[in-house]
Amino acid sequence: MDLQVRSETLYFAWRNTKLRVGLSVVLFFVALTFIGPLLTDYAPYDYVGPAAQPPSPEYWFGTTIFGQDVFTQFVMGLKATFQVGIIGGGLGTLLGILIGFTAGYRGGLVDEILNIFTNIVLVIPTLAILLIIAAYLEVRGILTESVFIGCTAWPWAARAIRAQTFSLRTREFVDLARLSGMNVWRIIMTEIAPNMMSYLLLVFILQFGGAVLIAATLDFIGLGPTNAVSLGLMMNNAVLWGALLLGMWWWFIPPGLAIMAIVGALYVTNVGLDEVFSPKLREM
């Protein structure tokens, strides 16, 4: 893309309400992960005050049944969630893109081999593998968890991207690019990938959401990070210690709402991006 096209894209991106709203929400939470820790003096698992307190000026999001500050856990957990989403979802997307593009563009034998590989990974019971690996590791951090998730979540992304690439590859503008002497990777990066930008972003968003949810599941069955806090772990603890029965909504609503808001906002962003990337939708 040259400068002119890029600046036009930016212009339309700025004019798009969905994109602005979606991005604002995401950026709000990102900002919160950075600013949040500055607003609290506690560590997430410190016993700081009276137990099971509803939100108050002193404890913004209230306290847990053990008297830990929910806000502190929330902002720390938010950071962990973004890490898992970005690293796990990013890795899943990256592997999906790499394998999907190669299989879809090359076709033939390469495609068949990659297809078999994809199907094998797809049918392996992901959770079981994660359970086994997680059980072997004494200390588990956010990074290890993310890499596990990324390495097992890519197959459906690869399949979807392969199908898209396959249909784009037969389009005549790709033939024309080949007749212009462009090499394979340049064609993929400058002809095929831009047409799939919003699609790739959707893949990333779903991988992001999926990674966050798998992380929450792992956290829930006690195989989450042993040395950190996450939104999933918070909800898990809340449910485990009867926050639902006791009506301690401040313990589980903020993490739940945050996950929903982040994934939802990314989805709205995606719809907006779709309009920006497609010149036909722009003029409406």
Binding site: L176, L179, S180, E191, N195
Partner: protein, 316 residues
């Protein structure tokens, strides 16, 4: 200039590629310098496949394609890029030929990046504008626009201008005007004829017999991947020899003559090819003893410059 020697294309289909689908079967013909050859066939006859094989967009299964004596299947990297400086293609759907998210004139910029990086921006711009004028477009009206803001005819001219910028010798024109409106398509056709007069060789792929007649010296009639008849356009159109070509000639709707009734056999389900003549199922002249079914006819020169592959003619 361009020569096809017994070119075939076989696709493997079905589970584990167990079945073979014959798209093109032992096709041989040539295109001379400054000549327009029409490749005429119905949908599924393999005509576009031949065009794509010449452009190296799909590999050939067997046979050879020679360009100025060089086997093009051996070309790689720099040599292939050099081949594309001399041989280019324009395709049927003008809108699908452009990446919808970029402006249409990006096709020129890519060309500069790949082939003319040494030229300055303004030098290149001059060349682009000259090429656009050469194909009958006003640069001010068509540059800096998205594909959907231009008409099909303008987009096809764009691609012809793109080919001109490379100074090509050979153009594969695959149904390039079939999606254009009647009132503008003739201008694109005339443009091709003008370029031909300047020395360009063209393979004009079409299903429309009248277009083939209008522009070409020689025609190749394709049916189910095989050449059934080829030769000088006048001879083929005025004295079609193969039963298939004759059927085509009586079915083509013309403004100077009405259809005669009952000259066309309705086509039923096509049977599998069993090695005989490809037209056996539909042919009113097919031998009852079945020799057409078992024996594959070869092209013979029935009169100077007129070849046909049918048992009705001795030697085939």
């Amino acid at each position: 200039m361009l020569e096809l020697e017994a070119v075939s294309k076989v696709y493997r289909v079905g589970t584990f590629g167990g079945k073979e689908l014959r798209a093109v079967h032992r096709v041989s013909f040539d295109v001379q310098d400054g000549e327009v050859v029409s490749l005429i066939g119905e949908s599924g006859s393999g005509k576009s496949t031949i065009g794509k094989m010449i452009l190296r967009l799909i590999p050939i299964s067997t046979g050879r394609i020679l360009f100025n004596g060089v086997d093009i299947s051996t070309l790689k990297g720099v040599a292939l890029k050099a081949y594309y400086r001399k041989v280019q293609g324009v395709f049927q759907d003008p809108f699908s030929s452009y990446n919808p998210i970029f402006k249409a004139d990006r096709v020129f910029r890519i060309l500069q990046q790949e082939y003319f990086p040494e030229l300055s921006r303004s030098e290149w711009q001059d060349r682009v504008e000259n090429a656009l004028r050469a194909v009958g477009l006003n640069p001010d009206q068509v540059l800096d626009k998205f594909p959907h803001q231009l008409s099909g005819g303008q987009l096809q001219r764009f691609l012809i201008a793109r080919a001109l910028l490379l100074g090509i010798q050979f153009l594969v024109a695959d149904e390039i005007i079939s999606m254009l409106d009647a009132s503008t398509r003739i201008d694109v056709l005339n443009l091709l004829a003008d370029l031909k007069a300047e020395g360009l060789s063209i393979l004009f792929i079409t299903h429309d017999l009248s277009l083939g007649y209008y522009i070409s010296e020689r025609a190749v009639i394709l049916y189910r991947g095989c050449i059934v008849e080829m030769g000088l356009t006048d001879k083929i159109y005025n004295h079609p020899l193969h039963p298939y070509t004759r059927m085509l000639m009586v079915s083509v709707p013309r403004l100077d003559r009405k259809w005669k009734e009952g000259e066309v056999q309705l086509r039923g389900q096509q049977s599998e090819l069993a090695g005989g003549c490809v037209y056996y199922d539909r042919c009113p002249e097919a031998d009852k003893d079945g020799s057409c079914r078992s024996h594959e006819p070869v092209l013979v020169e029935v009169e100077p410059g007129h070849f046909v592959a049918c048992k009705l003619y001795p030697g085939a």
